[in-house]
Protein backbone atom coordinates (compact mmCIF):
# COMPACT_ATOMS: atom_id res chain seq x y z
CA UNK A 1 0.00 0.00 0.00
CA UNK A 2 1.30 3.46 -0.80
CA UNK A 3 1.48 5.81 2.10
CA UNK A 4 -1.74 7.67 2.56
CA UNK A 5 -1.03 9.45 5.80
CA UNK A 6 -0.24 13.03 6.60
CA UNK A 7 3.31 12.55 7.74
CA UNK A 8 5.51 15.23 6.29
CA UNK A 9 9.22 15.11 5.56
CA UNK A 10 9.22 11.34 5.86
CA UNK A 11 9.73 11.76 9.58
CA UNK A 12 7.67 8.91 10.96
CA UNK A 13 9.94 6.71 13.06
CA UNK A 14 8.98 3.41 11.44
CA UNK A 15 10.19 4.94 8.23
CA UNK A 16 13.51 6.13 9.64
CA UNK A 17 16.02 5.45 6.97
CA UNK A 18 19.23 6.86 5.62
CA UNK A 19 21.47 6.33 2.65
CA UNK A 20 24.97 4.84 2.57
CA UNK A 21 26.60 8.29 2.46
CA UNK A 22 24.59 9.50 5.43
CA UNK A 23 25.48 6.25 7.16
CA UNK A 24 29.18 7.02 6.81
CA UNK A 25 28.62 10.38 8.47
CA UNK A 26 26.53 8.89 11.27
CA UNK A 27 29.11 6.19 11.95
CA UNK A 28 31.80 8.82 12.14
CA UNK A 29 29.80 10.57 14.82
CA UNK A 30 29.29 7.30 16.68
CA UNK A 31 33.03 6.59 16.70
CA UNK A 32 33.77 10.12 17.86
CA UNK A 33 31.36 9.74 20.78
CA UNK A 34 32.92 6.37 21.60
CA UNK A 35 36.33 7.97 21.86
CA UNK A 36 34.94 10.75 24.06
CA UNK A 37 33.24 8.27 26.40
CA UNK A 38 36.41 6.18 26.67
CA UNK A 39 38.55 9.22 27.41
CA UNK A 40 36.17 10.43 30.12
CA UNK A 41 36.11 6.97 31.72
CA UNK A 42 39.91 6.82 31.57
CA UNK A 43 40.17 10.17 33.35
CA UNK A 44 37.78 9.05 36.08
CA UNK A 45 39.58 5.76 36.59
CA UNK A 46 42.94 7.52 36.46
CA UNK A 47 42.00 9.77 39.37
CA UNK A 48 40.80 6.77 41.36
CA UNK A 49 43.82 4.61 40.59
CA UNK A 50 46.21 7.43 41.41
CA UNK A 51 44.99 7.00 44.98
CA UNK A 52 43.09 10.25 45.21
CA UNK A 53 40.13 9.53 47.45
CA UNK A 54 38.20 11.13 50.24
CA UNK A 55 40.74 10.03 52.82
CA UNK A 56 43.92 11.04 51.05
CA UNK A 57 42.74 14.32 49.55
CA UNK A 58 42.02 17.43 51.55
CA UNK A 59 38.31 18.15 52.04
CA UNK A 60 38.29 21.05 49.61
CA UNK A 61 40.20 19.12 46.95
CA UNK A 62 37.89 16.18 47.41
CA UNK A 63 34.87 18.46 47.06
CA UNK A 64 36.26 19.67 43.74
CA UNK A 65 36.94 16.14 42.55
CA UNK A 66 33.46 15.05 43.57
CA UNK A 67 31.89 17.74 41.44
CA UNK A 68 34.32 16.93 38.64
CA UNK A 69 33.14 13.30 38.72
CA UNK A 70 29.50 14.34 38.73
CA UNK A 71 29.98 16.69 35.79
CA UNK A 72 31.89 14.04 33.80
CA UNK A 73 29.10 11.57 34.55
CA UNK A 74 26.46 14.00 33.33
CA UNK A 75 28.45 14.61 30.14
CA UNK A 76 28.66 10.86 29.55
CA UNK A 77 24.95 10.46 30.25
CA UNK A 78 24.18 13.30 27.85
CA UNK A 79 26.14 11.69 25.04
CA UNK A 80 24.51 8.31 25.62
CA UNK A 81 20.98 9.70 25.73
CA UNK A 82 21.25 12.25 22.94
CA UNK A 83 23.47 10.34 20.49
CA UNK A 84 23.26 6.63 21.25
CA UNK A 85 19.59 6.69 22.13
CA UNK A 86 18.94 9.22 19.34
CA UNK A 87 16.89 11.46 21.59
CA UNK A 88 18.73 14.39 20.07
CA UNK A 89 17.36 13.39 16.67
CA UNK A 90 13.77 13.09 17.84
CA UNK A 91 11.24 15.85 17.64
CA UNK A 92 11.54 18.56 20.22
CA UNK A 93 8.20 17.77 21.81
CA UNK A 94 9.12 14.11 22.31
CA UNK A 95 12.50 15.09 23.70
CA UNK A 96 10.98 17.30 26.36
CA UNK A 97 8.17 14.88 27.12
CA UNK A 98 10.87 12.41 28.14
CA UNK A 99 13.36 14.75 29.79
CA UNK A 100 11.27 17.36 31.57
CA UNK A 101 9.34 15.10 34.00
CA UNK A 102 12.49 13.18 34.80
CA UNK A 103 14.58 16.28 35.43
CA UNK A 104 11.78 17.68 37.55
CA UNK A 105 11.67 14.55 39.73
CA UNK A 106 15.43 14.43 40.07
CA UNK A 107 15.58 18.04 41.21
CA UNK A 108 12.91 17.16 43.75
CA UNK A 109 14.88 14.13 44.99
CA UNK A 110 18.07 16.17 45.25
CA UNK A 111 16.18 18.79 47.22
CA UNK A 112 14.96 16.07 49.59
CA UNK A 113 18.41 14.60 50.06
CA UNK A 114 19.83 17.98 50.98
CA UNK A 115 16.97 18.99 53.25
CA UNK A 116 16.23 15.72 55.01
CA UNK A 117 19.49 13.83 55.22
CA UNK A 118 20.06 14.62 58.89
CA UNK A 119 16.54 13.65 59.84
CA UNK A 120 16.86 10.40 57.85
CA UNK A 121 20.19 9.78 59.53
CA UNK A 122 18.55 10.09 62.95
CA UNK A 123 15.75 7.78 61.87
CA UNK A 124 18.10 5.13 60.51
CA UNK A 125 20.22 5.38 63.63
CA UNK A 126 17.18 4.93 65.90
CA UNK A 127 15.63 2.03 64.03
CA UNK A 128 18.59 0.17 62.58
CA UNK A 129 21.36 1.37 64.83
CA UNK A 130 24.36 3.48 64.11
Amino acid sequence: MERDDLIVNDSYSLNAHHSEEEGVKIRKKIYLVTVILCIITAIEIGIGMAGVNRLSASPSTWMGIKWFYVILTLIKAGYIVLVFMHLGDERKNLRWTILAPYIFFIIYLIFIIFMESTYIKDTITSFIGG
Binding site: S11, Y12, S13, E44, M49, G51, N53, R54, T73, I80
Partner: protein
Protein backbone atom coordinates in the same frame (compact mmCIF):
# COMPACT_ATOMS: atom_id res chain seq x y z
CA UNK B 1 12.44 7.50 0.54
CA UNK B 2 8.68 7.97 0.73
CA UNK B 3 6.93 4.65 0.67
CA UNK B 4 9.98 2.85 1.95
CA UNK B 5 8.12 1.03 4.67
CA UNK B 6 5.28 0.29 2.40
CA UNK B 7 2.85 -1.28 4.77
CA UNK B 8 2.40 1.83 6.94
CA UNK B 9 -1.26 2.66 7.12
CA UNK B 10 -3.44 4.73 9.33
CA UNK B 11 -3.80 2.12 12.02
CA UNK B 12 -0.05 2.24 12.60
CA UNK B 13 -0.36 5.90 13.37
CA UNK B 14 -2.13 5.32 16.67
CA UNK B 15 -5.50 5.20 14.90
CA UNK B 16 -5.42 8.80 13.72
CA UNK B 17 -3.94 10.30 10.66
CA UNK B 18 -1.05 11.72 12.58
CA UNK B 19 1.28 9.97 14.94
CA UNK B 20 1.99 11.94 18.10
CA UNK B 21 5.65 12.97 18.14
CA UNK B 22 6.09 11.18 14.78
CA UNK B 23 6.94 8.10 16.74
CA UNK B 24 5.54 4.63 16.69
CA UNK B 25 3.52 3.51 19.67
CA UNK B 26 6.09 0.88 20.68
CA UNK B 27 9.01 3.26 20.72
CA UNK B 28 7.06 5.83 22.70
CA UNK B 29 6.13 3.24 25.31
CA UNK B 30 9.72 2.01 25.50
CA UNK B 31 10.72 5.57 26.37
CA UNK B 32 8.02 5.83 29.01
CA UNK B 33 9.13 2.53 30.51
CA UNK B 34 12.73 3.73 30.59
CA UNK B 35 11.76 6.94 32.37
CA UNK B 36 9.97 4.97 35.09
CA UNK B 37 12.84 2.51 35.35
CA UNK B 38 15.29 5.39 35.60
CA UNK B 39 13.26 6.73 38.51
CA UNK B 40 13.56 3.35 40.25
CA UNK B 41 17.33 3.49 39.94
CA UNK B 42 17.35 7.12 41.06
CA UNK B 43 15.41 6.10 44.13
CA UNK B 44 17.98 3.42 44.89
CA UNK B 45 20.88 5.82 44.49
CA UNK B 46 19.17 8.42 46.68
CA UNK B 47 18.57 5.78 49.36
CA UNK B 48 22.22 4.85 49.02
CA UNK B 49 23.08 8.51 49.61
CA UNK B 50 21.02 8.61 52.80
CA UNK B 51 22.71 5.51 54.20
CA UNK B 52 26.10 6.72 53.18
CA UNK B 53 25.52 9.99 54.98
CA UNK B 54 24.31 8.09 58.05
CA UNK B 55 27.40 5.89 58.18
CA UNK B 56 29.90 8.34 56.76
CA UNK B 57 32.33 7.71 59.59
CA UNK B 58 32.88 4.09 58.67
CA UNK B 59 31.93 4.00 55.02
CA UNK B 60 34.81 2.34 53.14
CA UNK B 61 36.79 3.89 50.35
CA UNK B 62 36.13 2.00 47.15
CA UNK B 63 39.80 1.75 46.14
CA UNK B 64 40.34 -0.28 49.29
CA UNK B 65 37.49 -2.64 48.51
CA UNK B 66 37.46 -3.01 44.74
CA UNK B 67 41.05 -3.96 44.13
CA UNK B 68 40.70 -7.54 42.98
CA UNK B 69 41.84 -8.62 39.59
CA UNK B 70 42.01 -12.15 38.18
CA UNK B 71 45.36 -13.65 39.01
CA UNK B 72 45.51 -12.11 42.45
CA UNK B 73 46.88 -8.80 41.21
CA UNK B 74 46.23 -5.82 43.46
CA UNK B 75 44.82 -3.26 41.05
CA UNK B 76 42.33 -0.78 42.48
CA UNK B 77 39.37 -0.10 40.19
CA UNK B 78 41.01 -1.75 37.18
CA UNK B 79 38.53 -4.61 37.03
CA UNK B 80 35.51 -2.35 37.17
CA UNK B 81 37.14 -0.09 34.58
CA UNK B 82 37.33 -3.09 32.31
CA UNK B 83 33.67 -3.89 32.93
CA UNK B 84 32.71 -0.30 32.16
CA UNK B 85 34.67 -0.39 28.94
CA UNK B 86 32.98 -3.63 27.87
CA UNK B 87 29.56 -2.11 28.48
CA UNK B 88 30.42 1.06 26.56
CA UNK B 89 31.75 -0.96 23.62
CA UNK B 90 28.67 -3.16 23.55
CA UNK B 91 26.58 0.01 23.57
CA UNK B 92 28.55 1.21 20.54
CA UNK B 93 28.01 -2.05 18.66
CA UNK B 94 24.32 -1.72 19.47
CA UNK B 95 24.09 1.76 18.01
CA UNK B 96 25.94 0.49 14.94
CA UNK B 97 23.33 -2.27 14.62
CA UNK B 98 20.59 0.38 14.74
CA UNK B 99 22.45 2.37 12.10
CA UNK B 100 22.74 -0.71 9.88
CA UNK B 101 19.02 -1.27 10.39
CA UNK B 102 18.31 2.21 9.07
CA UNK B 103 20.08 1.17 5.87
CA UNK B 104 18.13 -2.10 5.80
CA UNK B 105 21.48 -3.84 5.90
CA UNK B 106 20.61 -7.26 7.26
CA UNK B 107 24.18 -8.50 7.42
CA UNK B 108 25.29 -5.41 9.31
CA UNK B 109 22.47 -5.76 11.84
CA UNK B 110 23.32 -9.41 12.44
CA UNK B 111 27.03 -8.71 12.82
CA UNK B 112 26.66 -5.85 15.28
CA UNK B 113 23.84 -7.47 17.23
CA UNK B 114 25.98 -10.55 17.64
CA UNK B 115 28.84 -8.48 19.04
CA UNK B 116 26.42 -6.73 21.38
CA UNK B 117 25.22 -10.08 22.73
CA UNK B 118 28.82 -11.20 23.19
CA UNK B 119 29.65 -7.98 25.07
CA UNK B 120 26.60 -8.41 27.27
CA UNK B 121 27.56 -11.96 28.19
CA UNK B 122 31.10 -10.88 29.01
CA UNK B 123 29.74 -8.15 31.29
CA UNK B 124 27.39 -10.53 33.11
CA UNK B 125 30.23 -13.03 33.45
CA UNK B 126 32.55 -10.33 34.83
CA UNK B 127 29.94 -9.41 37.37
CA UNK B 128 29.58 -13.05 38.38
CA UNK B 129 33.32 -13.17 39.03
CA UNK B 130 33.23 -9.91 40.97
CA UNK B 131 30.34 -11.11 43.12
CA UNK B 132 31.83 -14.50 43.82
CA UNK B 133 35.05 -12.79 44.89
CA UNK B 134 33.08 -10.67 47.30
CA UNK B 135 30.82 -13.30 48.75
CA UNK B 136 33.42 -15.99 49.32
CA UNK B 137 33.55 -15.98 53.10
CA UNK B 138 35.47 -18.73 54.86
CA UNK B 139 32.31 -20.21 56.37
CA UNK B 140 30.49 -20.07 53.08
CA UNK B 141 27.62 -17.86 54.17
CA UNK B 142 26.61 -14.74 52.35
CA UNK B 143 27.67 -12.23 54.96
CA UNK B 144 29.16 -9.34 53.10
CA UNK B 145 31.24 -7.98 55.84
CA UNK B 146 32.73 -9.74 58.79
CA UNK B 147 33.91 -12.92 57.20
CA UNK B 148 34.19 -11.63 53.72
CA UNK B 149 37.30 -12.42 51.75
CA UNK B 150 37.58 -8.98 50.23
CA UNK B 151 36.78 -6.97 53.26
CA UNK B 152 38.74 -9.12 55.65
CA UNK B 153 41.92 -8.22 53.85
CA UNK B 154 41.58 -4.54 54.35
CA UNK B 155 41.69 -2.47 57.47
CA UNK B 156 38.24 -3.42 58.60
CA UNK B 157 39.33 -6.91 59.40
CA UNK B 158 41.99 -5.96 61.87
CA UNK B 159 42.68 -2.89 63.91
CA UNK B 160 46.21 -1.64 63.82
CA UNK B 161 47.48 1.86 64.16
CA UNK B 162 48.83 1.78 60.67
CA UNK B 163 45.62 0.61 59.11
CA UNK B 164 43.32 2.64 61.28
CA UNK B 165 45.08 5.78 60.21
CA UNK B 166 44.06 4.80 56.76
CA UNK B 167 40.38 4.64 57.59
CA UNK B 168 37.99 6.81 59.48
CA UNK B 169 38.29 4.45 62.38
CA UNK B 170 40.69 6.72 64.34
CA UNK B 171 37.65 8.80 65.17
CA UNK B 172 36.06 5.84 66.85
CA UNK B 173 39.21 4.68 68.54
CA UNK B 174 39.91 8.16 69.83
CA UNK B 175 36.38 8.41 71.15
CA UNK B 176 36.82 5.04 72.81
CA UNK B 177 40.10 6.03 74.38
CA UNK B 178 38.67 9.28 75.71
CA UNK B 179 35.63 7.55 77.10
CA UNK B 180 37.69 5.05 79.01
CA UNK B 181 39.96 7.71 80.36
CA UNK B 182 36.92 9.23 82.06
CA UNK B 183 35.33 6.01 83.32
CA UNK B 184 35.44 4.94 86.96
CA UNK B 185 37.64 1.96 86.34
CA UNK B 186 39.40 3.21 83.27
CA UNK B 187 40.77 0.65 80.96
CA UNK B 188 43.94 1.82 79.41
CA UNK B 189 43.61 1.75 75.69
CA UNK B 190 46.81 2.28 73.80
CA UNK B 191 48.67 1.19 70.78
CA UNK B 192 51.37 -1.39 71.14
CA UNK B 193 54.89 -0.12 70.69
CA UNK B 194 55.18 -1.20 67.13
CA UNK B 195 51.78 0.33 66.40
CA UNK B 196 50.42 -2.95 65.16
CA UNK B 197 47.93 -3.74 67.87
CA UNK B 198 45.27 -2.01 69.87
CA UNK B 199 45.98 -2.71 73.53
CA UNK B 200 43.30 -2.83 76.24
CA UNK B 201 44.83 -2.89 79.71
CA UNK B 202 48.07 -4.04 78.22
CA UNK B 203 46.50 -6.95 76.36
CA UNK B 204 46.51 -6.80 72.61
CA UNK B 205 43.20 -7.19 70.86
CA UNK B 206 43.86 -10.43 69.03
CA UNK B 207 44.48 -10.43 65.36
CA UNK B 208 41.40 -10.79 63.21
CA UNK B 209 39.31 -10.34 66.28
CA UNK B 210 36.99 -7.44 66.13
CA UNK B 211 37.30 -5.00 68.96
CA UNK B 212 33.60 -5.03 69.59
CA UNK B 213 33.53 -8.76 70.15
CA UNK B 214 36.64 -8.56 72.27
CA UNK B 215 35.15 -6.01 74.61
CA UNK B 216 31.87 -7.85 74.66
CA UNK B 217 33.46 -11.06 75.84
CA UNK B 218 35.90 -9.41 78.15
CA UNK B 219 33.12 -8.03 80.37
CA UNK B 220 33.06 -11.09 82.61
CA UNK B 221 30.22 -12.68 80.78
CA UNK B 222 27.80 -9.85 81.47
CA UNK B 223 27.89 -9.08 77.85
CA UNK B 224 27.44 -5.37 78.00
CA UNK B 225 29.88 -2.67 77.35
CA UNK B 226 30.01 0.90 78.39
CA UNK B 227 30.27 3.58 75.82
CA UNK B 228 31.57 3.87 72.34
CA UNK B 229 33.37 0.88 71.00
CA UNK B 230 36.36 0.74 68.77
CA UNK B 231 34.35 -1.32 66.36
CA UNK B 232 35.43 -0.80 62.84
CA UNK B 233 33.37 -3.46 61.18
CA UNK B 234 31.84 -0.94 58.85
CA UNK B 235 28.16 -0.69 58.02
CA UNK B 236 26.45 -3.77 56.64
CA UNK B 237 24.46 -1.38 54.48
CA UNK B 238 27.54 -1.00 52.33
CA UNK B 239 27.46 -4.59 51.20
CA UNK B 240 23.68 -4.65 51.07
CA UNK B 241 23.52 -1.67 48.76
CA UNK B 242 26.38 -2.97 46.67
CA UNK B 243 24.69 -6.28 46.00
CA UNK B 244 21.24 -4.79 45.59
CA UNK B 245 22.17 -1.99 43.20
CA UNK B 246 24.66 -3.93 41.08
CA UNK B 247 22.35 -6.94 41.25
CA UNK B 248 19.37 -4.96 40.04
CA UNK B 249 21.51 -3.54 37.27
CA UNK B 250 22.91 -6.99 36.47
CA UNK B 251 19.37 -8.29 36.20
CA UNK B 252 18.68 -5.58 33.64
CA UNK B 253 21.83 -6.51 31.74
CA UNK B 254 20.87 -10.17 31.75
CA UNK B 255 17.34 -9.53 30.51
CA UNK B 256 18.81 -7.14 27.91
CA UNK B 257 21.14 -9.84 26.65
CA UNK B 258 18.23 -12.27 26.32
CA UNK B 259 16.13 -9.69 24.47
CA UNK B 260 19.06 -8.86 22.19
CA UNK B 261 19.53 -12.56 21.50
CA UNK B 262 15.88 -12.90 20.50
CA UNK B 263 16.16 -9.89 18.20
CA UNK B 264 19.37 -11.29 16.72
CA UNK B 265 17.65 -14.58 15.92
CA UNK B 266 14.68 -12.73 14.42
CA UNK B 267 17.03 -10.64 12.29
CA UNK B 268 18.76 -13.80 11.08
CA UNK B 269 15.40 -15.32 10.20
CA UNK B 270 14.63 -12.25 8.11
CA UNK B 271 11.61 -11.18 10.15
CA UNK B 272 12.51 -7.49 9.98
CA UNK B 273 13.49 -7.67 6.33
CA UNK B 274 9.99 -8.90 5.53
CA UNK B 275 8.50 -6.24 7.79
CA UNK B 276 10.36 -3.56 5.87
CA UNK B 277 11.94 -1.84 8.84
CA UNK B 278 14.27 -2.63 11.73
CA UNK B 279 12.55 -0.66 14.44
CA UNK B 280 12.61 -3.56 16.86
CA UNK B 281 16.40 -3.27 16.82
CA UNK B 282 16.04 0.38 17.69
CA UNK B 283 13.65 -0.33 20.56
CA UNK B 284 15.80 -3.01 22.13
CA UNK B 285 18.71 -0.68 21.49
CA UNK B 286 17.01 1.93 23.65
CA UNK B 287 16.80 -0.59 26.48
CA UNK B 288 20.41 -1.65 26.03
CA UNK B 289 21.67 1.93 26.06
CA UNK B 290 19.63 2.55 29.16
CA UNK B 291 21.46 -0.29 30.88
CA UNK B 292 24.73 1.40 29.93
CA UNK B 293 23.38 4.73 31.15
CA UNK B 294 22.51 3.29 34.55
CA UNK B 295 25.95 1.76 34.82
CA UNK B 296 27.53 5.18 34.23
CA UNK B 297 25.77 6.43 37.36
CA UNK B 298 26.30 3.30 39.44
CA UNK B 299 29.95 3.41 38.49
CA UNK B 300 30.33 7.01 39.62
CA UNK B 301 28.38 6.79 42.84
CA UNK B 302 29.49 3.36 43.95
CA UNK B 303 33.01 2.94 42.67
CA UNK B 304 34.39 6.45 42.32
CA UNK B 305 32.93 8.65 45.00
Amino acid sequence: MAGHAEHIDKSDLWGGNMSPYSTSYGKMMMWFFLVSDALTFSGLLIAYGFFRYTFQGTWPVSEDVFFHFPGGIHAPLLYVAMMTLILIISSVTMVLAVEAGHRNNKRGVIKWMAWTVVGGFIFVGSQAWEWSTFIAGPDGDLSTWEDNATLKQNYYGRITKETSNHAFSPVYIKEYMEHHAKAENPKIVTWSEDGKDLMVDGVAVPENYLAEEYLHHSKDGHGHHDGPIAAVTGPLAYGQFFFFVTGFHGFHVFSGVIINLIILIQAMMGVFERRGHYEMVEKTGLYWHFVDLVWVFVFTFYYLL
